[in-house]
């Protein structure tokens, strides 16, 4: 008999996910691969974009090492759930392979679109909040959930234009999508703040309007201010520390939603890893403060 190698494709499946005990995580990005895997920082979990792991090699190597120590959340940017056309089967197939191997505790993408015709524009583009869009988004969410055999979370985007034919607010749109498809919501607090400035609405009202029972993850990130002749437009860049206003909004969200798994996102102009850990500690501090206040209130 000839010898048959038993572990040909090196596919290893990890134990089923469980909700992280420490609710605050950070994004695992290429510049942090070695440090995170060699001296794991004190954070509760890691988030990655699955699209960066569709191939093999270094990316999967380090993700596999990281997964041995952390729970992970797979946060996609390429499903284009809001496109008029259906979700790419090829994208779903490669994504599901990662879900099967890495057993994430959360799987998510955005209420936005990127693909039209044969072009995929690599950005989270804005949707008109109409019944037609809602039906389209729900069809694509259901296609994805059926393919994965699990529910996903859908995130509110940052937008720089608002459509004139909107028939509902964004939070109503998100709530309806969740109600209709059974998906969860991923609430990006920075995106709410950025939009409240760009479109002129009350961000606290947005958070109060969201269906609290549906929120399965919160994101926090930094943005920049871009000056135009007639005012300032905020751009969600994930390249700066979380702003004070966004921390305040986050505290309000935690009061309403409880200690939901929270991510510090950083995707360009990468600082030392310690900066992300510091930001994570701030979020943890807010969760602690709110939790102890509510325990004290309940005891009174």
């Amino acid at each position: 008999m000839s010898e048959i190698p038993s572990d040909i494709t090196k596919v290893q499946s990890y134990p089923p996910a469980s909700k992280p005990i420490d609710p605050v995580g950070i994004g695992l990005r290429h510049p942090y691969y070695r440090e995170v895997t060699e001296s794991p920082p004190a954070v509760g979990w890691l988030e990655v974009h699955p699209e960066n792991y569709f191939g093999g090699g270094a990316h999967r190597h380090f993700l596999s090492k990281a997964r041995e120590k952390y729970q992970i959340s797979l946060h996609a940017v390429g499903l284009s759930l809001g496109s008029a056309e259906p979700v790419s089967e090829d994208h779903l197939r490669r994504f599901k392979e990662l879900i099967d191997i890495y057993q994430p505790f959360n799987v998510s993408d955005h209420a936005s679109w990127s693909a039209s015709g044969n072009a995929h524009l690599n950005d989270l583009l804005p949707l008109p909040y109409t019944q037609e869009t809602l039906d389209t988004l729900c069809r694509n969410i259901s296609q994805t959930q059926d393919y994965f055999g699990r529910t996903i979370l859908v995130e509110n985007p940052s937008t720089y234009v608002a459509f004139a034919n909107n028939e509902m607010t964004e939070y109503e749109f998100m709530n309806r999508a969740a109600q209709k498809t059974g998906c969860g919501l991923l609430l990006d607090i920075n995106n709410i703040f950025v939009q409240s400035h760009n479109h002129g609405f009350d961000p606290f009202e947005y958070i109060d309007g969201i269906n609290a029972g549906k929120v399965g993850e919160i994101h926090l990130a930094g943005h920049i201010e871009k000056e135009a002749e007639s005012g300032i437009i905020l751009v969600d860049t994930h390249s700066r520390p979380v702003k004070k206003d966004v921390w305040d909004l986050y505290e309000h969200a935690v009061r309403r939603l409880g200690p939901v798994p929270t991510l510090i996102e950083w995707d360009q102009d990468f600082p030392p890893l310690s900066k992300l850990v510091e930001e994570a500690a701030k979020a943890r501090q807010i969760i602690k403060k709110v939790t102890s206040e509510s325990i004290a209130n309940a005891a009174e």
Binding site: G56, L121, A164, K226
Partner: protein, 259 residues
Amino acid sequence: MRLSEVQKRFKDTMLDHPKVLDDPPTDFAALFESGDIPLPVRLKVYRNNIVGSLTDVMINSHPLLEKLVGRDFLEMMSRHFVLENPPTQGCLSFYGATFDSFIENYELAKAMPYLPDIARLEIAMNEAYHAPDDEPLTAKNLAAAPPENLKLELRKSIRLISSKYPLSDIRDFCMEDDPAKTMNIDTGGVKLMIYRPALDSVIVKLDEAEYAMLEALGHETALEEALEQTLEKHESFDFQGFLQRHVALETFSAPQANI
């Protein structure tokens, strides 16, 4: 306007000449709420995100081109490429696979006829880096396999390049980073194998015969036939030496069917 039409118009506007954003057509502008910040400023945030991020993807995967033509030229060429060839899928790891043929037809690059081959080398390095994981055929596997059943399949990361320019010398020249130095690019061509034996892409120089043999194997030609084809053109091809060298390099994959 139907959602599909809105998205098509938005996409076309983003990939159009930047001047269109300064004065968008009335029916397109009417799709959006007007506010304090003018529409062109708002639309440009999207355009910058899209074109900027994709141009960065191209620049980051072509460090040798950057050394040879400079950052500004590469950025301009990449931006033109992106606008004409936006990605067709949500995963960008393999984006830009046609950059070499784009450069071939790029008027401003015609004075540097070696650029497409440099791009080809960098595309191969990038594709090898992201190729799916697989296991190599080892000497032990080989010893255990009955010779009549021997099948040689290339690893998924293998890319073969034949160039009339000394690509690996040009690469070394770029890596040296000495602006005073010049090189003669007419010293003869090379045949190269690019692959990823572990985590990084590696370049191996090949002789004519082993290139021919690997190329035939890459086309899924049966071993015997590949060998025949190679011997036809290269009488002195040493198959045993080839096999030994490439098993040591871990060129071949070890699917179960091999054994």
